[in-house]
Symmetry: C2
Subunit: 122 residues, 2 copies
């Protein structure tokens, strides 16, 4: 809904905001970089990402597929063999996320100590 009355810079339907929802997902942020390295199967993803349930994995992958970031390929075999890889669009996103990842790695110590200092204060 367009919000011309309040002068919002970021109204609820702001285009980029919709796209950002994908990024806002906790797991998508972890899965996309993984797939950037190579296509993976469901089980491999489950193993490489710690602490995610099968349910959330499927859910997240569907969402990524829905947004055109991931390509799902069912090889139609028995037993089933399905793998996931980034689309062109997904690869372009992963390049942007790499920057964030690098930030996280480089600045993790600063974030951690800030948090500890803050918590000690309370």
């Amino acid at each position: 809904m367009a919000d011309t009355s309040t002068g919002n810079v970021l109204s609820a339907n702001c285009p980029s905001r919709a796209a950002l929802e994908v990024v806002g997902s906790k797991w998508a942020l972890l899965i996309v970089p993984l797939l950037a390295r190579q296509p993976l199967r469901n089980n491999e993803l489950l193993r490489q990402v710690g602490g995610i349930s099968q349910k959330m994995m499927t859910q997240t992958l569907r969402e990524l597929e829905r947004h055109g970031l991931v390509q799902r390929t069912d090889h139609q075999t028995v037993p089933p063999h399905v793998d996931y890889q980034l689309t062109e669009l997904g690869r372009s996103l992963s390049e942007a996320l790499v920057v964030v990842d690098r930030w996280a790695e480089r600045h993790y110590p600063a974030v951690a100590s800030a948090r500890m200092a803050f918590d000690r204060r309370r």
Copy 2:
């Protein structure tokens, strides 16, 4: 970080993962870029970000402060005047987020059409 016992690439206590949680927050992704342009007060933030409640605003700002990304300044006046600005750390993050924001803007049409195509299929 490596988890030698399970072979996880991304174990639950991976350092960068902790830092990524900040980014994973729906609202932080919107607030940080806003503050990158200029310091803002509580009410201004509420106005500029559409659809966020006072509660979530306070909560998110506290979290950002806790992680050393935002500096809260209480001018100790009546009526109250408090403003928020990015710290050095926060500015460095915002630079990384700018890349993601640009991605969102540029690729929003592709994401949107992918979603519509996918949904039509169901």
